[in-house]
Symmetry: C2
Subunit: 213 residues, 2 copies
């Protein structure tokens, strides 16, 4: 059986979401600062922007490449898929265009019933109305021997962390202070127990901390 | 004129104080975990425990040695001196024994009027009933060309940070999650603006982040 993995971009003060979105700037400057180093990597330039051969090749890239390695299925919340902004819109296919970076089955936790969406490149979005544990079982079945990622957002990740279901948590910490949003570390006192922790700093200044067991 | 410097030990989730003290264990296990790597250094073994020639000599030691370099005066809150546990006790001389590690004038912010205390090794504790800014001026005058450290605790540091008075903030982040206490990062959204940020990871796993300008 594969592992359950989480990879998140957070600020130095632990925030995994940002709060400065507007109608004109639905992503927000804070989000751009939070993920800039990650999106600049060779892997993300190819996977997210369809720009092979471009992007950074240092320590951030090592983590970006590892992000996709060995993943057999993904679980995400409705918010990460964008359903909160596109409720009851049958044409909405997520943020990632016709060829999403996942390239595996993706289980989207939502109260909204939708038919599965088959995209280019191997990504199939399934919309499930199950508990975290039940959804994880669906994802494990789809992943086979490979790993399952709990993709986000933070409210989707937290119950898996609290239930001790995460085998590897990697945070890419941007050295910025956001001061508000959803904090990954809330209610995770003592989470490090039972994990080994390894840290390295990328050329970009991003601090990569990995809890693994 | 020297710089104003702050060095703090915090947890990965930003806590600079701990909450598990008891009458039997007035320091607490969490505090021990927070500062273990720092106290293990060669500098702290000599300065705090009077054990020259012992202790670690890696990256943590580099920061521990730098902690005392160029400091001409120190400012601390009443709590860091222990006045909250020893009110109106004229015999209380702080936590550090007859030869405290500071070896410079130390200005203790307190409502309690006490005569100055001259210790071995150059440390003189002055008890002042002034504002943060006025106390900083006293410390600057005492330090001359050298730097002033705002030693702590966190409630003493925060107004200096909010007022933009800190030239260099170094945090030694222990890779543990305390989940409660006083959080350094509260209300410091955007603090990184105007500073350059440098990070390195010690052999102990401690993450050293320095904001300087």
């Amino acid at each position: 059986m594969g592992h359950v993995r989480v990879d998140l971009n957070i600020s130095l003060d632990g925030y995994a979401t940002t709060t400065d979105q507007t109608a004109e700037d639905p992503i927000g400057q804070d989000w751009n600062r939070l993920v800039a180093a990650y999106l600049a990597t060779r892997t993300m330039q190819e996977r997210v922007f369809g720009q092979p051969g471009r992007g950074t090749t240092g320590i951030d890239e090592k983590y970006a490449a590892a992000y996709f390695e060995g993943i057999g299925a993904e679980v995400m919340g409705a918010g990460m898929f964008g359903l909160h902004l596109h409720p009851d819109d049958p044409d909405w296919q997520g943020w990632w265009g016709p060829n999403p970076p996942f390239r595996v089955p993706v289980f989207v936790l939502t109260h909204e019933k939708r038919p599965s969406l088959t995209m280019e490149g191997g990504t199939v979005f399934h919309f499930v109305q199950s508990s975290a544990e039940e959804t994880l079982q669906l994802a494990r079945d789809a992943a086979g021997d490979r790993d399952v990622r709990i993709g986000g957002g933070i409210r989707t990740v937290r119950p898996f962390a609290a239930a001790g279901l995460i085998d590897r948590l990697h945070v890419a910490i941007a050295p910025i202070l956001l001061g508000r949003g959803e904090n990954l570390w809330a209610d995770l006192r003592g989470f490090e127990g039972g994990y080994s922790v390894a840290t390295e700093v990328a050329e970009s200044g991003t601090i990569h901390v990995t809890f693994s067991r």
